[in-house]
């Protein structure tokens, strides 16, 4: 698992009580001075170019050497050597903390927009907190202009991003303006889109490549409401999906398979085919063992081998619906061979791992592996192929 935030940093040549700042990192030695002045340099060679606002070094002697030249230096552990040109970090010199906001080499850059949520899902991987999100919005709006235009995709997640209303739409608008060629993926519970005015405003952004991933956990309204722990959530989510499609916006349905959803999975697939066949993608996803899931293990965990048949049936059903269907977060050795073509390597790179036994597997290259959190309790049927 990659570390994306660091604490107790060794910092040199900073003023007392300096404000936190967001900065983009480079490895080039010969950039125009005005760019250097507002950028950071990844110091992984002895030659130290002049003019950068910040230097990141990974070797103690090297850090001290740069510091002697009265430059601002942040000394980082070797585990942060993955940092590369185009990455964006947030440094808080007073608290001596650093967060990596954007990694240019990654396809899974995702921004948490708010920690608030109007659902309270049994298996939430990012348990909601009712705290102010103003600073997050400001951070994102400061970061977007720094992101390289050639970036393939970025994501927005939460909490529930749409709770920010217009402030969230403003972020999406910035994406269209600053990153016109970058695909945008939004994770939302979809409920806010039941409001036609909001959906109309969302559609009016007219982003060329933007999709909302919305979870539907059951074909039965009150079972979905139970899983997300919110009355009326099913109706609002479905109406949200209908509204989005009414305004011709791409929609992905995301289903997390666990003890409370696996038995009706084929029925849910049938429901999607009959009622929501116009969605653009359906993802059947394995459980991430983090957040609330850890508190609800008995209610939620089931060995994926147990629902193998249901997963196969649902996948085939959805494939018949004509739209693309994918299986996320499942290891090839526990799913039926006939659905391998649907299995994707879906886990974000920084939390994607394999078991030691996987090194003997001939299919490891094609297999999506595990969430880091899943390693604590993998299927009992993991075996090298």
């Amino acid at each position: 698992m990659l570390s994306l935030s660091a604490h107790n940093l060794d910092l040199y040549n900073f003023k007392v009580n300096e404000d936190p700042f967001i900065i983009k990192l480079y490895e080039d030695k010969r950039l125009p001075l005005p760019i250097k002045k507002k950028s950071g340099y990844i110091a992984n060679s002895d030659e130290i170019p002049e003019g950068y606002s910040l230097y990141c070094a990974f070797d103690k002697r090297h850090s001290l050497e740069i510091a002697r030249r009265t430059k601002r230096v942040v000394h980082l552990d070797r585990e942060y050597e993955y940092l590369s040109a185009g990455d964006i970090i947030r440094l808080d010199p007073t608290k001596k903390t650093l967060r990596v906001l954007f990694r240019a080499s990654s396809l899974s850059n995702s921004f948490l927009v708010t920690e608030r949520c109007d659902n309270f899902c049994l298996m939430c991987s990012q348990p909601p907190r009712d705290i102010s999100d103003d600073w997050i919005v400001e951070e994102i709006t400061n970061t977007i202009p720094l992101i390289d235009k050639s970036t393939r995709a970025i994501g927005f997640t939460g909490g529930e991003p749409t709770l920010l209303g217009d402030r969230f739409l403003r972020i999406l608008e910035m994406c269209k303006q600053y990153l016109p060629d970058t695909a945008v993926h939004i994770l939302s519970n979809g409920r806010r889109f039941a409001d036609s005015n909001f959906t109309r405003a969302y559609a009016a952004i007219n982003h060329p490549d933007m999709i909302v991933g919305i979870p539907v956990y059951s074909d039965v309204a009150h079972i979905h409401d139970y899983i997300v722990q919110a009355n009326n959530a099913f109706d609002e989510t479905i109406r949200g999906i209908l509204n989005l499609k009414k305004y011709r916006q791409p929609v992905e349905i995301r289903v997390v398979v666990h003890r409370q959803t696996y038995a009706r999975l084929p029925r849910l697939a049938e429901f999607i085919l009959r009622n929501l066949a116009f969605v653009d993608h359906v993802a059947l996803m394995g459980l991430e063992l983090t957040g609330f899931t850890k508190a609800n293990m008995d209610t939620l965990w089931i060995d994926p081998m147990t629902y193998r048949e249901e997963l196969t049936e649902a996948t085939k059903y959805l494939d018949r619906a004509g739209g693309p269907v994918s299986i996320y977060n499942h290891q090839l050795c526990v799913i039926d061979k006939v659905v391998w073509p649907y299995a994707r390597k879906s886990i974000s790179d920084w939390k994607n791992e394999y078991l030691p036994v996987c090194s003997k597997c001939t299919k490891i290259e094609e297999c999506g592996g595990f969430f880091s959190s899943q390693l604590a309790k993998p299927s009992n049927y993991i075996s090298p192929l």
Binding site: V220, A221, Q229, L242, R267, R274, A277, A295, R320
Partner: protein
């Protein structure tokens, strides 16, 4: 953890019981019942389950309750979105109505060099009949203009006969005229020639290739059967057809050539041989069609020569063979079943004219005859050949689009035969899968609606619906094969 509520808490909101959406049900052969909702989603129920459902005695924690709720047979206080979804699904099923007429059949010649006993319409191929039975330039141009008056985004022009290749210059003319009109109309324009292929030439196919014209031919089975059904001078119809198919494929590609068969009495014992012939010729689908009770077929007793029970035996034997071929790993589709299965198992609308309600006549497809007369369907002009002009809507040379498509000859049968208001159909669990066929019922019973208990159309389709439902219910492998035939 107390901050999470259990399922029972959310089930406890289902207060005040449940309400029923409209649905129909029907007993199957094994004591079970099929229930279908407004848009054709179905469930198989035991008698006591059906009883509990309609008496509002279902347990809201049961799987059956959840199944019925998710499939929109009932709703409760937890959710009202089912109404939105049912509305949307109903609109999807009827979506083709707003497109109006998509299929435009042009009978460019009634002449034919074949003399098939079951043919309803064709005339001898001689010079005398050329001027009398070929479509004129004036008729063709008027018909083209009418076709483009249809608001449909898809315009399919199908050349029929007789043998349309006998008047190929009119085909060229219509294709070019339609393409000229389409420069400003921007429709999805498609052409098909329904031909026996005996007269097809490389020049014809060069033209078809250049203008993206599809070929649809007749193949009735193996050589001896095909030639028995389809006599022509020289007795070589089969050889001509096969050569024509191969030549057409080299010009147009394998998927641009289709074939249809007609079930005569001679065919009834040979479904397997017919299917094998289609597979041998490289087709991946077949349409096991019953003979139509029209025109010469009726006159020559071809139709009366077998009843629908014999045809059903033939059909089911063929279908079983085809499903086995699929189970063995080779995809091969029976198109009639595919249409019905699409209606049963998917939300999509289908375009097969005979299984539509409102009926497909006029508003699904329309026929411009060689002499300028406009008929509501192919079968409508076959009746006309027997001096029954019931489905004559007007004439391209004298009548306007409005006069033709709002004529009583079209509106009356459409209104009368709409299945959701027809006695017996309105209450039938298979109504969502079936269709209105006012031409058939007029031809056989002298009435657009007809008495369904004596309707061959009804009995044939009911048998097929039941058969498919029960077969899928009893065999999951078969269900998988049949489900894979859904079109969208």
């Amino acid at each position: 953890m107390t901050k999470f509520k259990d399922l029972a808490y959310y089930t406890s909101f289902l207060i005040g019981g449940y309400k029923l959406f409209p649905f129909n049900f029907l007993p199957l052969d094994n004591g079970q019942y099929i229930a279908t909702n407004l848009v054709g989603e179905h469930l198989i129920l035991q008698r006591d389950q059906l009883d509990a459902l309609v008496k509002h005695k279902l347990d809201s924690t049961s799987t059956l309750y959840n199944d019925l709720k998710a499939k929109h047979f009932l709703y409760d206080s937890a959710s009202t979105v089912a109404v939105d979804l049912l509305t949307l699904k109903q609109r999807t099923k009827l979506s083709s109505l707003s497109d109006f007429t998509g299929l435009h059949m042009f009978v460019v010649s009634l002449r034919c060099e074949h003399s098939c006993s079951y043919c309803q319409v064709s005339r001898a191929n001689d010079d005398a009949s050329r001027s009398e039975y070929d479509m004129s330039q004036a008729v063709a141009e008027k018909a083209c203009k009418l076709a483009f008056r249809s608001p449909s985004p898809h315009i399919k022009i199908e050349f029929q006969g007789g043998e349309p290749l006998l008047n190929f210059e009119r085909i060229v003319h219509v294709v070019e005229e339609a393409e000229r009109l389409n420069v400003t109309e921007h429709r999805n324009l498609q052409f098909v020639i329904a031909t026996n292929l005996a007269l097809i030439t490389k020049q014809h196919l060069e033209f078809c290739k250049a203008h993206d014209v599809l070929i649809s031919t007749s193949l009735d089975g193996p050589e001896w059967l095909h030639n028995q059904n389809r006599p022509r001078p020289g007795g070589n119809s089969y050889q001509k057809t096969i050569e024509g198919i191969q030549l057409s494929r080299t010009f147009l590609g394998p998927d641009r050539v289709g074939a249809l068969m007609t079930t005569t009495q001679a065919c009834l014992n040979y479904p397997v041989q017919i299917i094998d012939e289609y597979i041998a010729q490289g087709f991946r689908e077949i349409f096991l069609r019953p003979i139509s009770p029209y025109g010469f077929a009726l006159k020559t007793k071809s139709f009366k020569s077998y009843g629908h029970q014999e045809w059903l035996q033939f059909y089911f034997k063929g279908l079983e063979y085809i499903v086995q071929i699929n189970l063995d790993g080779y995809r091969f589709v029976e198109q009639y079943a595919a249409t019905i299965l699409t209606k049963m198992l998917s939300p999509y609308a289908t375009s097969y004219i005979d299984l539509m309600s409102p009926a497909g006549i006029g508003i699904g497809g329309v026929l411009y005859n060689y002499d300028g007369k406009v008929y509501a369907s192919d079968e409508g002009r076959m009746l006309a050949e027997m001096n029954d002009d019931t489905f004559l809507l007007g004439n391209v040379l004298t009548d306007s689009y409005e006069e033709i498509f709002t004529s009583e000859a079209l509106l009356e049968p459409l209104k009368a035969s709409y299945t959701k208001s027809v006695p017996m159909c309105a209450d039938c669990a298979f109504e969502p899968y079936c269709g209105a066929d006012p031409v058939y019922h007029h031809a056989t019973q002298g009435d657009y609606v007809g008495n369904k208990s004596s309707s061959g159309f009804c009995q044939r389709n009911m048998s097929i619906f039941k058969h498919l439902v029960q077969w899928m219910e009893s065999d999951s492998k078969v269900k998988e094969v049949l489900s894979s035939w859904i079109r969208h």
